[in-house]
């Protein structure tokens, strides 16, 4: 309480004045504590001390500007006409001393101090420092118009007030910093919300950029995405950099973003105009400093972000880098999400196209078997439009009473597993349609959400099959009657020619023998051709059956040899038979085994002249199975590998030219191979041109009954 104050001339405090001062100090404390921010605190301090009970009439709070060293007025009372934020420069005024040493300073007569700045109250002055966390941040200045106005009690009061204010300021600053962090946090959360709310990439990036620009307090900025194919950055979002730069393309290393794209490290460029890496694409803009960061997913570059200061006074610091690094991952995720979303969209579109254009009728059902969707082919197959079908129970819609139960069974099963079948369904117009049905459960994230039904109209297919079956049956009928009709006259030709030969000999007309023999041989040949064609037809039609019986292999061989003897003699060949003693009996199709051996032997006779033919047979084991091996070896013309390749195919003699020379249909070996396969064996050939051929048939000694092939 300044002794010179007009409120109390007397230096002697009375009890009531003391009570008033206590009350004023209490109010002061309360107001300081109630202040919301620094500004409020300073105002509370000067207001509280200006109280009549205390009598401090001229006072103010200055804060130190650390950069300039100036003191800047925050709040004052009693000084008329001082400007807001009045700046007292470094080196001026008495109050600087308290700032420098952090102590209270009392100047009893200011007029005697050269550094005193003249003001209205040019008597005495007290300067009390404000200290927060050990640092002097400002000064409380209290003046009196009269010299020697302040004493010890004043110093106590002013110190206490300054302390209270300092503590409050420290708390307020902490709070503000917390708030700022909370704001950052909120901005990030908002950004993430944007990411899910808006998937159009440029808009998301623009939103991210706007927040980053706002939070960093920069002039503007840009976000670019990395185009893998072009190996370039493309600016997608541009905010307040002096022009709309979207669409600008930057090579790696070009400009700030191109540089961070290449280095994958953030960068601060204090003076862009002097920076060697600057891009000419921004030369028309006022850019003072730039801070840029790469956008990465893991170590993969997806883009870059840059912020600029146009104001030469502003510079980027570590705190700005920290903030930018908070935003960079968000922008990177946005880009990645957009890419994934585009990909997903493309796939969705792809599948929708498939569904729309599928030649199969497709319908999807929910768990209650109600139709959720159907494709155009479903509409055309059953005659219901999508609007008519959706929401209806599928089986009620397209089945008849006769097929309903079966169809519902299918549908229920299809909720659990894939179901495949053939059935008859009803169209809207009441007509029936034969369909192949495929039902499959639709499982999303492990949960059965319904099922999908695919219908394939098989009316044409069934008709074609019926026609094919009818045709096949007609063919079989034809072949059977052919067999009879062709063979009957042929038997007459063969029989009569043979008989005539015998008669001619008996009657002494041997001269006819040769011609009659030719007729007989030709007839036999024709018969074997017909038989072969019929056999092959039966095999191809799957109608050739095995008649398995037990027979003695040696007897069968003797029989075959007797039959083939005339052919052997014809080309002056010799035939040797090598039979193992233990040959024993076989269980197989006797007729077919005979036929195969006759085929091989007659071939050997046909393609060998004046040579040796050997028929060998032995019993052996193959994989624990008893087998009989027959081989027919000749010393004839042999074959090239190329000829052997097509040997067992139907209608393929080794070469067309051989047909004219040697005759035959080229069916014998094809039939032989099919017969051996039917009986679970095989036939092989070893040959070389001019070195004869060896055909080997291996058959199980006991052929197992198998379905007809």
């Amino acid at each position: 309480m300044p002794r010179s104050s007009t409120a109390r001339k007397s230096a002697e405090p009375d009890r009531s004045a003391a009570a008033h001062r206590q009350a004023a100090l209490l109010r002061l404390s309360t107001e300081i504590a109630a202040a919301h921010d620094e500004e409020g605190i300073y105002r509370s301090v000067v207001h509280g001390l200006h109280d009549e009970a205390l009598g401090y009439n001229f006072l103010g709070v200055f804060l130190l500007d650390p950069e300039s060293g100036d003191r800047v007025l925050q709040a004052s009372m009693g000084w008329p006409d001082v400007p807001d934020a009045w700046r007292v420069h470094r080196g001026e005024g008495l109050s600087e001393q308290a700032l420098l040493d952090g102590e209270l300073h009392y100047t009893a007569d200011v007029t005697r101090e050269s550094r005193y700045l003249p003001s209205l109250a040019s008597g005495s002055e007290v300067d009390v420092p404000l200290r927060v966390d050990g640092t002097t941040i400002g000064v409380l200045v209290v003046e009196s118009a009269e010299p020697n106005a302040f004493g010890g009690e004043d110093f106590e009061i002013l110190n206490a007030a300054a302390n209270q204010a300092s503590i409050a300021v420290g708390r307020a600053r902490l709070l503000a910093s917390e708030r700022r962090r909370a704001d950052e946090h909120k901005a990030l959360l908002d950004t993430m919300a944007d990411l899910s709310a808006e998937l159009e990439l440029s808009r998301v990036l623009q939103a991210v950029l706007v927040r980053a620009v706002s939070l960093l307090g920069v002039t503007g900025g840009e976000v670019a995405i990395w185009e893998e194919e072009a190996q370039e950055l493309v600016v997608l979002a541009s905010q307040n950099i002096g022009k709309d730069s979207t669409g600008t393309r930057l090579k790696p290393g070009e400009g700030a973003m191109g540089t961070v794209a290449r280095t994958q490290e953030p960068i601060i460029i204090p003076s862009y105009a002097e920076w060697l890496g600057r891009s000419t694409k921004y030369s028309d803009l006022t850019i003072h400093s730039v801070m840029a960061a790469p956008l990465l997913i893991g170590r993969r570059l997806v883009g870059a972000i840059a912020t600029i200061h146009a104001d030469p006074e502003r510079e980027f610091g570590p705190e700005d880098m920290r903030l930018l690094n908070l935003f960079a991952p968000q922008a990177a995720i946005a880009i990645e999400n957009a890419r994934l979303y585009t990909e997903a969209q493309r796939q969705k579109q792809y599948f929708e196209e498939l569904l729309q254009n599928s030649p199969v009728a497709i319908v999807t059902l929910d768990r209650d078997y109600s139709i959720v969707s159907c494709n155009p082919n479903f509409e055309s197959l059953f005659g219901y439009s999508s609007d008519e079908a959706v929401g209806r129970n599928l089986d009620e819609l397209i089945t008849t009473e006769a097929t309903r139960t079966e169809a519902e069974q299918y549908t229920r099963e299809a909720l659990d597993r894939a179901v495949h079948g053939i059935g008859r369904r009803q169209r809207k117009d009441g007509t029936l349609v034969d369909v192949e049905v495929l039902g499959v459960p639709v499982i999303v994230d492990g949960e059965r959400v319904g099922l999908m039904g695919l219908y394939h109209d098989i009316t044409e297919l069934l008709r074609a099959r019926q026609e094919a079956e009818a045709a096949n049956s007609a063919k079989s009928q034809f072949l059977a009657s052919m067999s009879h009709e062709l063979r009957t006259p042929l038997n007459a030709i063969i029989g009569y020619s043979e008989m005539l030969q015998e008669e001619a000999e008996d009657l002494g007309h041997a001269e006819f023998g040769g011609d009659l023999q030719k007729i007989h041989t030709a007839g036999r040949h024709l018969l074997s051709l017909i038989n072969n064609v019929l056999d092959l037809s039966k095999i191809e039609a799957g109608r050739m059956e095995l008649y398995l019986e037990d027979f003695d292999a040696s007897t069968m061989i003797d029989d075959v040899v007797t039959t083939v003897r005339p052919l052997v003699d014809k080309n002056s060949n010799s035939l040797e038979v090598e039979q193992a003693d233990d040959l024993g009996s076989m269980h197989a199709d006797l007729t077919k085994v005979r036929q195969m051996l006759l085929n091989l032997l007659s071939n050997a006779c046909k393609f060998t002249e004046g040579g040796a033919i050997t028929l060998a047979a032995e019993r052996g084991k193959d994989n624990g199975r008893e087998i009989i091996t027959f081989s027919v070896r000749d010393t004839g013309i042999g074959m090239t590998p190329e000829q052997m390749e097509r040997l067992f195919e139907a209608f393929s003699q080794a070469e067309a030219s051989t047909t004219s020379k040697y005759g035959g249909t080229g069916l014998g070996l094809a039939i032989t191979r099919r017969f051996t396969n039917m009986m679970g064996g095989d036939v092989q050939v070893v040959s070389a041109p001019g070195e004869g051929s060896t055909f080997t048939i291996r058959l199980p000694a006991a052929v197992e009954a198998a379905p007809a092939t």
């Binding site: 067999s483 042929l490 038997n491 008989m499 015998e502 006797l590």
Partner: protein, 123 residues
């Protein structure tokens, strides 16, 4: 001279086979279908019967069964004549009671050896 009953519906086959067998010294009687074959076999005393299997009226298998069931003919040797490709016919012929079989078209030497074997066995 052995007496043979030839049951065959095809005229040319009948003619050929009968003439060829007659030239080899057999006495041939002919029936044109299964029913006639059975009647004649029962009525006459034949040393051997050549039975075509696909016959009108009564087929060869049924005719054979009937002959085997009749006391006069139960022991008469019967050779079934079957078509080449019809492999299943053989077993059916043997099951029906035939003693042997041969395939058409006839190879005379082979058939003769079968005929002679059965005739020798029966004497």
């Amino acid at each position: 001279m052995a007496r043979i009953l030839l049951v065959e519906d095809n005229e040319m086959n009948r003619d050929m086979l009968s003439r060829r067998l007659e030239r080899k010294g057999f006495e041939i009687t002919m029936a044109v279908d299964g029913r006639e074959g059975v009647e004649m076999a029962k009525a006459g005393d034949y040393d051997l019967i050549l039975m075509d299997m696909s016959l009108p009226e009564i087929d060869g298998w049924e005719a054979t069964r009937q002959l085997r069931a009749a006391p006069d003919t139960e022991r008469t040797p019967i050779i079934a004549l079957t078509a080449h490709a019809m492999a299943g016919d053989r077993e059916r012929a043997l099951e029906a009671g035939c003693d042997d079989y041969d395939t058409k078209p006839i190879e005379l030497d082979r058939l003769l050896s079968k005929i002679n074997a059965l005739l020798e066995k029966n004497t």
